[in-house]
Chain length 233, copies 4
């Protein structure tokens, strides 16, 4: 990517930023999401560290920029895809799959996010944190709208649903992220989406209605028996 051009060429600010972000991603990826040395980025771009510090006065800011850029990319398909889907079940399945697929494609960036950035002091309240909330709140919204429409139970916290979704995905994908296992995004997405849907689904009204009918039948029958008893005796 960077190697195609003459090293250290003078770029317009925007191009330089794009380049830095792109190479920083590569560096994170090749370091398994454990570290991202500025020197490594500069080296690959054929520029010096100072050039990067001109644009991002601290490493923290660069890190955030890299992850925000990635997050926005991920969000684009996430939100546009979600708009075209209706039905709680289908939406749930979509966000689950989308999240899992994201981990499947960017395990190192995810590790970096989970292990380095999300653990840091400065994450809370950051731009990235806001993006994450927007991302995660789609699940909250799906669940609460489902509850409003009566499809889902209203007595369960949608936030808990959100935590379940992201939590179980994070747990399940850990061996893959650690490069000691693999998984099938489709299958695992099905399982998880199903599970969450069922955990939040209302007990089907049909059952309830059928139950009512049975009770009424029973009542009537008892009456009939009483009557019949009177007739017989």
């Amino acid at each position: 990517m960077a190697e195609e051009r003459k090293a250290g060429a003078r770029l317009r600010r925007g191009d330089r930023i794009a380049e830095i972000i792109a190479v920083a991603r590569e560096v994170i990826t090749e370091n398994n999401g454990v570290e991202m040395p500025i020197g490594e980025i500069a080296g690959r771009l054929g520029i010096v560290e100072g050039a990067i510090y001109r644009i991002y006065p601290t490493k923290r800011q660069l890190v955030m920029a890299v992850l925000c850029d990635w997050y926005e990319e991920v969000m684009a398909s996430y939100e546009s895809g979600l708009e075209q889907i209706s039905g709680v079940r289908e939406q749930l399945r979509f966000v689950t799959y989308h999240h899992i697929d994201c981990i499947y494609r960017y395990p190192e960036l995810v590790n970096f996010y989970f292990g380095v950035v999300r653990m840091s002091r400065e994450y809370w309240g950051s731009e990235l944190h806001k993006l994450n909330r927007r991302y995660a709140n789609r699940v909250v919204k799906i669940l609460s709208e489902g509850a409003l429409r009566g499809e889902l139970r209203a007595d369960k916290s949608p936030r808990l649903g959100r935590d379940i979704l992201f939590g179980v995905v994070e747990q399940s994908t850990w061996p893959y992220r650690m490069k000691v296992g693999t998984f099938d995004p489709d299958e695992i997405a099905d399982n998880i989406a199903d599970l969450i849907y069922n955990a939040f689904a209302r007990p089907p009204e049909t059952d309830v209605r059928r139950h009512d009918v049975a009770e009424r039948l029973l009542g009537i029958s008892e009456e009939l028996r009483a009557i019949a008893g009177g007739v017989r005796s």
Copy 2:
């Protein structure tokens, strides 16, 4: 803890080990589970780094010793407590509460474990990893035994249940671990244990009752028919 004693006093190996482990915990805790410099530990103990390296030839080994020690402490109450509890629901509630309470009491050690150790190359297959599997597998066991006894559904993977439990707890406790929020261990344990129990529970007793009703209806109907037969004849 260490500051109270005379610095650098000559200790028996066992005491020194205990001291190192204890102070290492402190250091991790005060660093919010982000780092654990050997120099800091040595400094607090009033000894030189080399003295620690006599006992733990690599930092990795010390880290593992610290976390194993902590894990064993946690496991003791976990396993002994679990033995005295019967009933799937109750056991599930116990392990959930226990895990949450552990995070509540040791958020920094948990952060260190999640963010540093569990992300590292050498964790997989380590003693600590084995302890973790033992810990987590209690949940698998509870769920699969529940399925065998007919209390839980047999069509859901107990491993998924395990991942849900630990995943949702990890997610839910994150703001607390980041020191930007708090939570009530009891309440959240109730919610989560409930949710998992319901997600794995067999269809409710109403079905069973409905079955009863049907049987009784059938009986009554037979009687009515007989009576009706007598009336007729």
Copy 3:
């Protein structure tokens, strides 16, 4: 050398490299070719160790650079000198003298090379090793060309000749390198070159012919004596 300038002045990369190499040589020399601490080099240059690591990412690379630089310097006079000399005997004498003189002038660097670098894992196949082979192979070449031209015996391995040359020089100069003795480069070079030449020289055909002549002379003399005897009696 370095002490004369203002410490820590900002230098162009090339100058800094030259300076580091030069000071590294000094450090090796003053340490009798036993060690070369980076900190010592940095200290003398008035810079920090990290500044050296910017240029040589590992100590190994710096060591190799220092010795390659020295080797190249030595090779220059070696190869240019050799080109202007013809005759096996003269060439052999030249390379022997040159090698001995090199040891005479740089005993500590030689010690460092022999005792530290050549003993290390990474030497084999390195740039320095290649230079050394080029250096040593001149002797092989001289001997095999001498054999081709009939001046030297063809039944002796030129490689053995090379090993003799460098081996005996290394042995003979050891007391000097250890600073417990001295030697006269000229004298020892004569001895060694002579010895190797003679060991590889063909038995001179002239001797054989001369032997023939002597025999014929002897025969004729006998005849003359016999004649003279007849005259006298």
Copy 4:
């Protein structure tokens, strides 16, 4: 070796010494003759470093003891073997083979000796150095006695012969010692012993006869001159 006994058992001084020496050799060998940490030796013996320092107050002394012990072992077969051999050629071949075989069997100890001990300040004049001189001087003796007996040339320095022998062996065995090559001790010993013998051997008998011839020619010429004088007068 050390593992067979209970670790740290109280030993008589002599046994402890023997044990330390033996294990030290192992340590040197397993470290490729590059280093010999005291801690490693103590660890293998199940004792503490201090126990070794009781016996050898400095590492230097232990190192010397280890190498002297080894040298004495080597010397035993060397000297006893040599006594039973007569003839310059045969003795030369024996010492060459013995030396090469020693390197063949103990390449790491040899490396340690060459690269570490022989390069150190304290080697000169040490017990080990004396042993080495005794070892090497056998070659000097063989060569000078050969010269006295007229078998070898008297105009060549026996010391040079010694340096050639040890030098060429050291050079030739370097790839083997570096574990990047191998060699056949017998073959190489033949080559080297031959070469040295020939380099020091007196010119063949033909030369001697030629000398005779010259003398006789001189005598005859004188006679002829006398006769010619008689004829003339």
